[in-house]
Amino acid sequence: MMDSSIIFEVKNLKKFFSLEHKSVLKAVDDVSFTINKGETLGLVGESGCGKTTCGRTVIGMYDRTEGEILYKGKDIRRLKGKDRKAYNKEVQIIFQDPYASLNPRMTVADIIAEGIDIHGLAKDADDRRNRVNHLLELVGLDKEHGNRFIHEFSGGQRQRIGIARALAVEPKFILCDEPISALDVSIQAQVANLLIKFQKELGLTYLFIAHDLAMVKHISDRVAVMYLGAIVELDESEDLYKNPLHPYTKALMSAIPIADPKIERERQRIMLEGDVPSPIDTPVGCKFQGRCKQCMERCRTETPMLKEVSKGHLVACHLIEEEINI
């Protein structure tokens, strides 16, 4: 019997893109995790590590290469007809770029009402207008804004319109695909707080993709760290930030600036050498082998699996495995 508190269960998900000359880009390579109802799972990593592809494959925007994705216990690929429609209503996305994700030929009201129209949620034109006005108010916009086109709005306002569009169909789960990284720092807090507010009020579940570590800590219950298409560490956000185990996570955490000049001056940064290798034709073994100072023989031959080291804390590293003997 499925645990009803789990919304998404992802097992050994792989998403490969075949390129010219028979080479393969492994954007997501063997990723497994679960998303519980009402929580925010943060997904962090460097640019190009496969965060967005992973998120989009999970909700079914991209067809997966291998693995299994269960939404409330059902394989999303097998959803047909009524189930498919319900799934489209319950799972929504907020995009990174508020300039590209809204149709410039539609009024704000039509953009927000798109889901309402598709799923026939409004009884009549009045109901539709009321719903749109309510959503506009919810995200802090004036209802008069509904008649305008999006080029009249600022980035933060557009992002809130994007959020209103996602909320219009009363979703259960929202994939937040770097929803704040394209915004000014002052607006980031505004939009992030709005997302937190809606989560509390509407009981939403988020998969929150970002590369801003401080923001992810602020918003997430649990955080997964991705490197080159694989999850290297997953833990409760407080714990992970206090006690990172994987060498990559350690380096990542040491890069967070601290808003206190005294401590900041003494902050020790772990500098990684080299660049992220190309995800095309990756070598066998640990993904992090080329840049890890504690790299061992075993790391070059055997891919480390994600293993639980303490309750809810998962790490994929041979070194940690050997240290605590699991």
């Binding site: 995009f95 994700s101 149709n103 798109e114 720092v185 980031q188 807090a189 923001m215």
Partner: protein
Amino acid sequence: MDVAIGTMEREEKEDEEKKERNNKNGFYSNTIDDLRFAKVVQSEIMFEESARPNINYWKEVRRVFFKNKIAVTALVIFVLLVIISLVGPHIRNIDYVSMNMSEQNQLPSAKHWFGTDNMGRDLFCRLCNAVGISLLIAVICTVVSIFLGSAYGAIAAYVGGFVDEIMMRVIEILNSIPSLILILLILVVLGNSIPTFIFAMVFTSWTGSARMIRGKVLQLRQSEYVLASEVLGATKRRIVMKHLLPNAASLIILDVAGSIPGFVGSEAGLSFLGLGLQPPAYSLGSLLSLGQQVMAFYPHQMVAPAVLLAIIILTCNLIGDGLRDALDPQLRN
């Protein structure tokens, strides 16, 4: 970050307090002198807020277009020209078809406004007909070539892959043959008549539209608002009708506005060279060619069609410019 969040919350609280005060007492009633101020009822404020009507995209386009003085002037001149060319020959009650050797090469007069040609036919009536024929050919060519080109390009982009490859190679091969040679060959093989002439012009010009629409559809299909629509569960039909067509429509309209003067010009050019319409059929280009033969003695016979041709192409281009400004919301202030 924490500071910013703190301020946000404080501001929210203050706003809420303000709202509460407003709801209870109207506007800050403790400071209002009742004799000098009338109370504003809440419902009236609401009415004012929603006073702006729901503006639809095309209404907005019309509004912006008609605010553009140059484009509107061009449109008025163009429409007048079309009306005159349609009505002109009928109200003059002159036989402009048969030859009249007693009235050869006359200068402009009350009877013959633009004079007569070397066969004694009224030039004004012939010009009117020529404008009509030139525009008709241009419009038919434009409609057919853009319709075919758009459909071809959209299919190539939508199906993609192998089909797209082949369809685009076909266009490249067609484009690599000089169009003048292609038109000549078609006219030689199929014979010279208005339909074959139109076919020849369309055959050499649809590829531009096809490429443009293919690029646009490829770009739009990848756009995040189409992805968002797919995530919402939109059908293909809805995506085409609500997202692809409206966003490509302005491009197609601009293509039409740009193609018409182009076809008028190339038809005139071909007819001037003697490749286009053959007598007794005539167009602005063939009148221009006839006028050019007697240019030294009767310059008005060449100037009249030349000026008309210039006016048609200029007004069409100006209308096109106005449309481009109106169709692109990013250009609006």
